[in-house]
């Protein structure tokens, strides 16, 4: 009979063990806010379908302080999402050579973040132009 008795440690509370894990969990938790924001928009859409009065009610609701606080948090979370999204981007791409040199992770992240800034500005300008 073998004397082996390998000891398996518990995973309880693993996300608290390392700051890296806390950052990872923060990234994942952003999803909750993305969902909430999408639900707010979905409500607006449904209200829009129900007619002017209903839609205006939704618009009024957006003006409450609670919703302001909510949207400020959501804005911060979205910015974190953008940052973390492009931060892991290099991990999701095959090795790319440009002019014989390997594309560096920093370049990829930087390009992504720049693209996001451009896209956001474009949205802002288009919406301003439409109104």
């Amino acid at each position: 009979m073998s004397n082996r008795r390998p000891y398996v440690r518990s995973m309880d509370g693993w996300w608290k063990r390392d700051p890296y894990f806390i950052r990872y969990m923060a990234r994942e938790v952003t999803a909750v806010f993305v969902a909430l924001y999408a639900i707010v928009l979905l409500f607006g859409l449904v209200r829009l379908g129900q007619g002017e009065a209903a839609f205006n009610g939704w618009l009024q609701y957006l003006k409450t302080p609670w919703m302001l606080v909510f949207h400020l948090i959501v804005l911060a979370v979205f910015c974190y999402h953008t940052w973390s999204w492009f931060n892991i981007m290099p991990k999701t791409m095959p090795i790319i050579f440009m002019g014989g040199k390997r594309l560096q992770p920093g370049t990829i992240t930087g390009t992504g973040l720049a693209a996001s800034v451009v896209a956001c500005l474009a949205v802002l300008f288009i919406v301003r132009g439409m109104s």
């Binding site: 004397n3 082996r4 008795r5 390998p6 000891y7 398996v8 440690r9 995973m11 693993w14 996300w15 063990r17 390392d18 890296y20 894990f21 990872y24 994942e28 892991i88 290099p90 991990k91 999701t92 791409m93 095959p94 090795i95 050579f97 014989g100 390997r102």
Partner: protein, 251 residues
């Protein structure tokens, strides 16, 4: 050297299956000099304080992959982690996380090695070539496509870093998937379809949630997170196009 010898406290997580119900901490006071690694600290303990402490080591130069352990909670190679960096506070060493403890600082590596064997980690030639024909041609750039993934020393630090492996040991895990990618990305190899049967399964690339800590702790810059996540796109494309591309259906 005696005058600048300092004393550091090393806490070691002990587990002796024949006597301990569960792991316990034991503290040792170790004299050290600034060029001493954590491994040398443990060797001092074994040689002069307590012969019963068990741990693996060999090369002392961060290439054999034996000496991985948790040092103050982080997966590291003890031969290239230095005591001076923990002075005067002291440090705690434990067996690599997420793996069963065989004894003291020794983990059971069976799962890792079994997985290594399961991924066909050898060239499945794209075109057979006889020895008399000489070597396959491979440009430095083609070599660069897999070289980094071939420098894995099988130290398992990434397994101790990956919570997805800790939560679900069926997940093939970072190091081995990186090795799989190493062969898939080799210009001489044509075995991608065979290997990706595993790669495209839940236990393969899809077990990874892109935590990324594996790449952070890897002492050899292998970047397993990249090896895995760059394949998710291939896997997805293959998933949607398998019925329209010839030979893409697989099993």
């Amino acid at each position: 050297m005696a005058e600048n010898e300092k004393i550091i406290e090393i806490e070691v997580l002990r587990y002796r299956p024949e006597q301990d119900k569960e792991p316990v901490l034991q503290t040792y006071k170790v004299p050290f000099t600034d060029d001493m690694s954590v491994l040398q600290g443990l060797q001092y303990i074994k040689d002069y304080l307590d012969g019963t402490v068990s741990f693996r080591w060999s090369c002392r130069m961060a290439i054999c992959g034996s000496c991985g352990m948790m040092i103050d909670g982080k997966p590291k190679l003890s031969c290239k982690t230095f005591l001076r960096d923990y002075y005067p506070g002291g440090l705690r060493v434990e067996a690599l996380a997420h793996l069963p403890i065989e004894r003291d600082l020794v983990v059971d590596a069976t799962d890792f090695v079994t997985k290594l064997e399961s991924i066909k980690p050898y060239i499945i030639p794209k075109e057979p070539r006889a020895l008399e024909q000489g070597e396959y041609l491979q440009t430095p750039q083609q070599r660069d496509m897999y070289e980094q993934f071939s420098s894995c020393i099988n130290c398992m630090l990434c397994y101790a870093a990956c919570p997805q492996y800790g939560l679900n040991p069926k997940f093939t895990g970072p190091g081995i998937l990186a090795l799989m990618h190493r062969y898939n990305a080799d210009s001489r190899d044509g075995g991608q379809a065979e290997r990706n049967e595993l790669g495209y399964a839940d236990e393969g690339y899809w077990g990874c949630t892109a935590v990324g800590y594996c790449s952070e702790v890897c002492p050899k810059g292998v970047d397993p997170a990249n090896a895995i996540n760059q394949n998710k796109m291939n896997s997805a494309i293959n998933y949607f196009t398998r019925f329209v591309t010839p030979g893409g259906a697989g099993k």
